[in-house]
Symmetry: C2
């Protein structure tokens, strides 16, 4: 069923001369299938086909795009156990996770299908003319969003389904009316090819233009660089490391025509443990031991930094967190390279001056497994050492004991941008520590009350993004239906004849969407 080739539009193609395999971290051996990296010619072919497809795809109705997205969901489900087994063999993640992530992917596809089938998402706005206005007549102006053009999606190592081939970036871009070229993640190229085959089946079954989707294999960084530099590519979606995301952002900004890059990058997701909460909430150590180790710590919302003010309760919390976390059975990481990076980054972090290891799973573990670690440092140590501010991707967390509330506020204000911030508080503590809460709010995209940052609900009110380097543009979200806004721009028609306007802007409102007409939201027609 796997071929190891690229999809250049609907065509399987493998003309390149760089070959690679994926790796099963549980078995600690390579998988059998050989993949062939896309050649420069194939990359150009995919992009030019995509630009051609855009001319047709940008005008396809919301209902037809919805049918396409639902067909992708159906064909992905039809891959059945083959997909689940390939996913597990390329990630070491358990079957239940694979099935859960597939469910999330299907839900995302169908959410975007519903959004574009209904149609009001285009933010239609109409200001009717006033020919009698003085000193000049007021023209008729009508606005809606239109798609940017071909979008390149860089999949995530840690979400082979939900943030990769047919994941949130692809689903939102296709929903917006943009063709998509996926730079497939080398660690799960087989999962990627299977999902790509489902998308291509959906393209053909629903009559979408050839080139609306392509899937390009890559073993390193060259394919991605060529894609970002290509003049016909109009936007980039990326999920991954700060180094990778920033490199693509820089390339895109240096183009003759700079293009938007939405890169969702690293985060250490600070958690503030307020004094009374530490006293009252006896479940905190267990709650956080579980969150730190969930999915072997391989979530972008993993809590990597716990902040409190020095107290007996904080000392007790640290001790119990250590006891809880070493009781958890270590699990496998996605790939030997990720396990290696985890151990290097974790070793580097705990080797910094005045950092103490509280808990370290000391038994031997199998190859590619991660030992969970909790360390602690004083506020002043953290403040002066930027190494401690960096993400350690894996089951690691640093507890910082601040001298006082002022130091805690200084630490929060000096943090880089984060996806999330969490406040663990007893009643009235949020009011009492409002400066802390506001400082945290200013550094994050989502703030959580008495919970854990892991678990990103897919719903319209979710923000998955945040100030740099959580993302390269805090004005957008990668999760939820508003993720579509990354790929569209507003467009005005002035004095355009009614019969030539798109349905969304016609007087009679034929598709019955909510529009803003002369400043009022309404589904009424214009008479």
């Amino acid at each position: 069923m796997l071929t190891g080739k690229n999809y250049i539009g609907n065509k399987l193609s493998g003309e390149g001369n760089i070959f690679f395999k994926t790796f099963n971290p549980l078995l600690n051996e390579e998988n059998n299938q050989v993949f062939v990296e896309a050649s420069t010619k194939e990359i150009d072919e995919a992009v030019m086909l995509s630009a051609q497809a855009f001319k047709q795809y940008r005008n396809i109705s919301g209902k037809d795009k919805a049918a396409f997205l639902n067909a992708i969901a159906d064909e992905t489900l039809a891959l059945d156990d083959k997909l689940i087994q390939t996913y597990c063999s390329e990630t070491g993640l358990p079957e239940a996770r694979a099935i859960g992530e597939r469910g999330r992917t299907i839900f995302q596809l169908r959410s975007f299908a519903d959004l574009v089938a209904e149609g009001s998402w285009v933010d239609a706005s109409i200001d009717t003319e006033n020919p009698d206005r003085l000193p000049l007549p007021k023209p008729d102006l009508r606005k809606m969003t239109i798609p940017l053009g071909p979008v390149v999606v860089f999949g995530a190592s840690n979400f082979p389904l939900a943030y990769s081939t047919a994941g949130g970036d692809t689903a939102s871009a296709l929903a917006a009316g943009c063709p998509v070229i996926v730079k497939s993640h080398p660690m799960h190229a087989g999962t990627g090819e299977l999902v790509a085959s489902a998308i291509i089946k959906a393209v053909q079954k629903t009559g979408m233009p050839n080139g609306v989707f392509s899937n390009l294999n890559s073993s390193g960084i060259d394919v991605g660089i060529q894609l970002v530099k290509h003049s016909e590519v109009k936007a980039i979606g990326f999920t991954g490391s700060i180094r990778g995301g920033r490199a693509l952002f820089d390339l895109a900004a240096q183009r003759k025509e700079p293009i938007p890059v939405f890169a969702e990058m690293g985060s250490i997701n600070p958690v503030v443990l307020l004094p009374q909460a530490l006293k009252e909430n006896k479940n905190l150590p267990k709650l956080y031991a579980d969150s730190i180790t969930l999915g072997t710590g391989q979530f972008c919302t993993n809590p990597g930094l716990l902040l409190g003010v020095k107290s007996d309760e904080l000392t007790e919390f640290v001790k119990r967190l250590g006891e809880e976390i070493v009781q958890i059975e270590p699990s496998v990481m996605l790939h030997p390279n990720i396990a290696k990076a985890y151990h290097e980054n974790e070793n580097n972090a705990v080797a910094q001056s005045d950092v103490n290891v509280v808990a370290n799973y000391t038994n031997n573990v199998k190859s590619n497994f991660a030992k969970q670690v909790v360390a602690t440092a004083l506020g002043k140590t953290f403040l002066k050492n930027p190494v401690l501010h960096q993400e350690v991707f894996g089951p690691y967390s640093l507890v910082v004991a601040c001298e006082d509330v002022e130091e805690l506020e200084a630490i929060i204000s000096n943090l880089e941008g984060q996806l999330t911030g969490t406040i663990m508080a007893a009643e009235k503590e949020v009011t009492e520590y409002i400066n802390i809460v506001e400082a945290l709010q200013n550094r994050v995209g989502r703030i959580i009350y008495n919970g854990v940052p892991t678990g990103v609900e897919v719903c319209p009110s979710m923000v998955h993004g945040g100030p740099y380097p959580a993302s390269t543009d805090s004005r957008f979200t990668a999760v939820g239906i508003n993720a579509i806004k990354r790929w569209v721009r507003p467009f005005s028609y002035q004095n355009w004849p009614n019969e030539l306007l798109p349905d969304e802007l016609k007087d009679e409102n034929p598709i019955q969407i909510i529009r803003e007409v002369n400043g009022k939201k309404t589904t009424n027609e214009i008479k």
Copy 2:
């Protein structure tokens, strides 16, 4: 009344050692007032004060921000004739234009006041919890937009009021909850200081925090560079040249923490003259002669490129456009430097191979006045010479005669991004030339039917922006209430206690805004 000093928050300050004067282009002499450029220390002081003010200003209610914006409008009007006279002395523009532009500025301020007083602009969205959901409970998530932080505004040479000190960028940023630091335009530093004094009066009368607004003089590029590089600055608004805007965009992208730059830059605003329209519309030459020379051609929406297919009618149009345009009395440009640049760029354009001058106002004109010019070239000449694609800021336009419709489409597809595109068409011609129209739509932010691009209506359905280099981010507009979206980011609260939420997200909807609750737009409270 003028001091020549900077406003560092509410304080007048002139500690620098670089001095300059503005210029009266009509009298061809310097104005009397000496201005002092902001020093590095003053720049830092303004930014740090702004960051401090943000902590308070970000939480100020919509109603209080509205009172502030309306007070700015009132205080600007109270400057009365002093403002109009200073404006005219620094620009050479006529009094009627000054009064009209002041009206536009006041309208913009009051539009943003109305927007934030009403409050629904924050895009509030609520997804209520479902504790019984399996496998995991669904959390309560609530989202709204929050301000980015201090915004630096670079005013435009050609709009000393509407796109400068208290112009659209400043009004939208203050409405969003962002403090503003204006890098005052050196050509109209006096107008800038007067308007700044009105803003400071409004700050004091409405009790806004000191530092919510600063106005910094600059004679060159140094002040702007320091501002864009300052770590406490969180976004940039700019109106001006491609060279200037791109330089700021590059600086902002190279920061450790890159920040959004919305630069509205140059445009040649292509106009497509379809064959039947050329036959039927005998008023075209007069209409376009007027539009090309309006405001001495100093509008970013000036029609610099007229495109048609070779025909007797096109030849006749070019001849008559030339006859019309030389009958118009030349007018003065904003500044000797702008007049000099116009003559250089215009001379360079018409000196290109195979470009023919159709009309050139040949009588002598006073210093700083611009002679209007119309030139013509074949499609193939235009296609191969990028110099002809560049904006000539002033009363200049190039008419391109294409060999056939295919060449016309190729030219449009190869254009850089534009603020506007215009189609002059007879009945049914839009349908007949749909490929031309769609190619044009793909390159512009606003498309106009049978009109002229000059004249940018301030209303919600206006898009003033477009693909690069019309702007640095086509996903936003600089004109109309949606300009506020450039300065805010979405923010989620998860499981946050109702009484601690901002009013916009509380169950009881105390300020009665439109919200999306579990996917439905409503003003209802949540029970």
